[in-house]
Amino acid sequence: MIDLLADRLYYLVSFLLLGVGTYMLIANRNVVKKVIGMNVFQTGIFLFFITSAFVTGASPPLLTAPEPYVSPLPHVLILTAIVVGVSLTAVALGLVVRVYEEYGTLNEQAIRQVSHDE
């Protein structure tokens, strides 16, 4: 059991991040913190990909380094996903600024009371 945990610790941490992120996204009333929760959630997924590329005792995927190499593909994928994540955060924060200008608060419940939407 302990061995298994030690072996899979990285996966465990990345899924813990997924949980933390989802919780923040749902439970937090501050919209900025919701955006942070979204970031934590995505980071969990990024770390999951990076962990999956790891090979024990392998070197970075450079031609000058000796074989075996860690898998470079997940790194490339995650570079792309990070770019996507940054743009998402930028758009989200832009929207948060507009929401704040409009309602004067970042608290979701207060916004709902002000706007009477739904």
Binding site: Q42, I45, L77, V84, L95, I111
Partner: protein, 514 residues
């Protein structure tokens, strides 16, 4: 012209940059450039589509890296239909948006980016590439929803962004699982690898990958329990944007779902995993029933139309769960038909709101007298959506229902037939109000003048229109009318042509199911 597949993705992206750059020099060039790009896109996709409806799909290897290492673009009948739908609807909505819509250059640039993202999603043959296009589509859709005035659209966009990102992230996680299980990202290679492995279909890793990919796309399609972003987003967005997004974004996401379920995981996976099929059926039934019930309880037209989408995509989901040729043909027809009808309905509701200020169901009382063209278009499109025979809504539902009967999925078949009645439940009351009730005495906000001519001057009411134009001047342009009438005519014409289209699609569907 063998470089056509990457061109149809690159063209809107280039157009988008051109709009921004040209806007720096001459601010009023946004609309002409966007229209030119959209028309060129129709021609390019049309040419591509003529070659795609064959026995073999058009394949294109990007950058000279062959399968399974590089990214591949695959255009078969279904992808071509989606890409063509995107191109045609984008032209129609542009005609409407010229006077009605947000008219800034950033809006047009984002609009073309969305067209590019949707086209890319339709023709890609690589799951990670699909994720990237899914996010491009998502990002631009959030931005477009936020292009309305006021806090409501910003709030709707933020909600859409948070929920949509979770969906897309789950999709990414599913890709990760599938990649770990097979070591490839190419769709065809993935399905071969899964088929080659004897334990492949019941491997927990593969099952988890399927679950995550499907649930991620459920969020984007807006299937019942995860649909909550949709009504707020559609109601908060400007009219042209809600028409465009409702017609295309969920549709292409549903196309992606078909791609993932049948091209990547194949029907054998569904056969080996009864639970997966059960979940699809359950999601379909719940979406159809609850979506309709929620639609009935709405008073705001745009929210009602949004909930109607939830229920209509339940039908597509039902077709995926049934998984036979007839049902999938129905799904393809219904995807195209729903896009035309729902986009048209949103445009019509926008037109009606611009001319009479009516945005809730009460405002539609006696509309046939005040605004015959608008009421007529709305009536035709609503009945088409219900599934009255010559219209395209009928053909799609007919095929899906027939497929369910062929598969002897009786409970599902009953729900599909009942869905017609449920759809009638929320559209009939509007048609009744429009044609059989007296118009209210001219109240404070409503005052419309001549409606037969192409221009109508409306005194500016206090209705919450999302327009930049304020005060006097023609508010309803020829383009707006043309887009609305075009959608209504198309909903009927496509219905007549849909059976031929179904036959044309047959090799594609056969390949999906093999």
């Amino acid at each position: 012209m063998s470089d056509l597949p990457p061109l149809v993705v690159a063209l809107p992206l280039l157009g988008s940059v051109t709009v921004l750059l040209a806007g720096l020099v001459r601010p009023r060039t946004g609309w002409p450039i966007t229209v030119a790009t959209a028309l060129a896109q129709v021609v390019a996709v049309g040419t591509l589509a003529t070659r795609a409806f064959g026995d073999e799909p058009v394949r294109y290897v990007v950058g000279g890296f062959s399968r399974p290492f590089g990214i591949e673009l695959v255009v078969d009948g279904l992808s071509a239909s989606m890409a063509l739908l995107v191109a045609v609807v984008s032209v129609g909505v542009l005609a409407y948006a010229r006077t009605a819509g947000p008219r800034s250059n950033p809006f047009y640039a984002t609009y073309l980016l969305l067209v590019g993202g949707l086209t890319g999603m339709s023709i890609t043959g690589d799951v990670f590439n699909m994720y990237v296009f899914l996010e491009i589509t998502g990002l631009t859709a959030y931005a477009l929803v936020a292009s309305g005035d006021g806090g409501r659209s910003a709030l709707a966009a933020l909600k859409y962004l948070l929920v949509g990102t979770v969906g897309a992230s789950l999709f990414l996680l599913g890709i990760g699982y599938a990649y770990i299980a097979t070591g490839t990202l190419n769709m065809y290679d993935l399905s071969n690898q899964l088929a080659a492995d004897p334990a492949g279909y019941t491997d927990p890793l593969v099952q988890a990958a399927f679950g995550l990919l499907v649930v991620g796309l459920f969020v984007k399609v807006a299937v019942f329990p995860v649909h909550t972003w949709q009504p707020t987003a559609y109601a908060g967005a400007p009219d042209s944007v809600s028409a465009f997004i409702s017609a295309l974004v969920s549709t292409v996401a549903a196309y992606a779902l078909i791609r993932i379920v049948f091209t990547v995981f194949t029907v054998d996976f569904l056969a080996a995993n009864g639970l997966a099929q059960t979940v699809l059926v359950a999601a379909a039934v719940v979406s159809i029933v609850v979506g309709s019930l929620l639609a009935v309880s709405q008073t705001e037209i745009k929210r009602m139309l949004a909930y109607s989408s939830v229920s209509q995509f339940g039908l597509v989901l039902a077709a995926i769960a049934v998984a036979n040729t007839t049902a999938l043909t129905g799904a393809a027809i219904h995807l195209v038909g729903h896009a035309i009808m729902k986009g048209g309905l949103f445009l019509t509701s926008g037109l009606i709101a611009t001319e009479t200020g009516a945005r809730s169901i009460d405002g539609y009382d006696g509309l046939a007298e005040r605004l015959p063209s608008g009421a007529g278009a709305f009536g035709v499109l609503a009945l088409a959506m219900v599934g009255v025979p010559p219209a395209v809504g009928f053909v799609g539902k007919w095929y899906v229902a027939l497929g369910a009967v062929e598969a002897e999925a009786w409970p599902l078949a009953v729900v599909i037939f009942a869905s017609t009645l449920l759809t009638l439940a929320y559209f009939a009351r509007i048609v009744e109000r429009m044609y059989f009730r007296e118009a209210p005495e001219p109240a404070a906000s409503v005052e419309s003048t001549e409606t037969g001519a192409t221009t109508a001057v409306v005194t500016d009411g206090n209705g919450p229109t999302g327009d930049h134009t304020s005060g006097s001047g023609p508010r309803v342009s020829l383009g707006m009318r043309a887009a609305v009438v075009g959608a209504a005519v198309l909903a009927i014409v496509l219905g007549v042509a849909a059976f031929q289209y179904g036959q044309l699609l047959e090799p594609t569907i056969e390949r999906l199911l093999s």
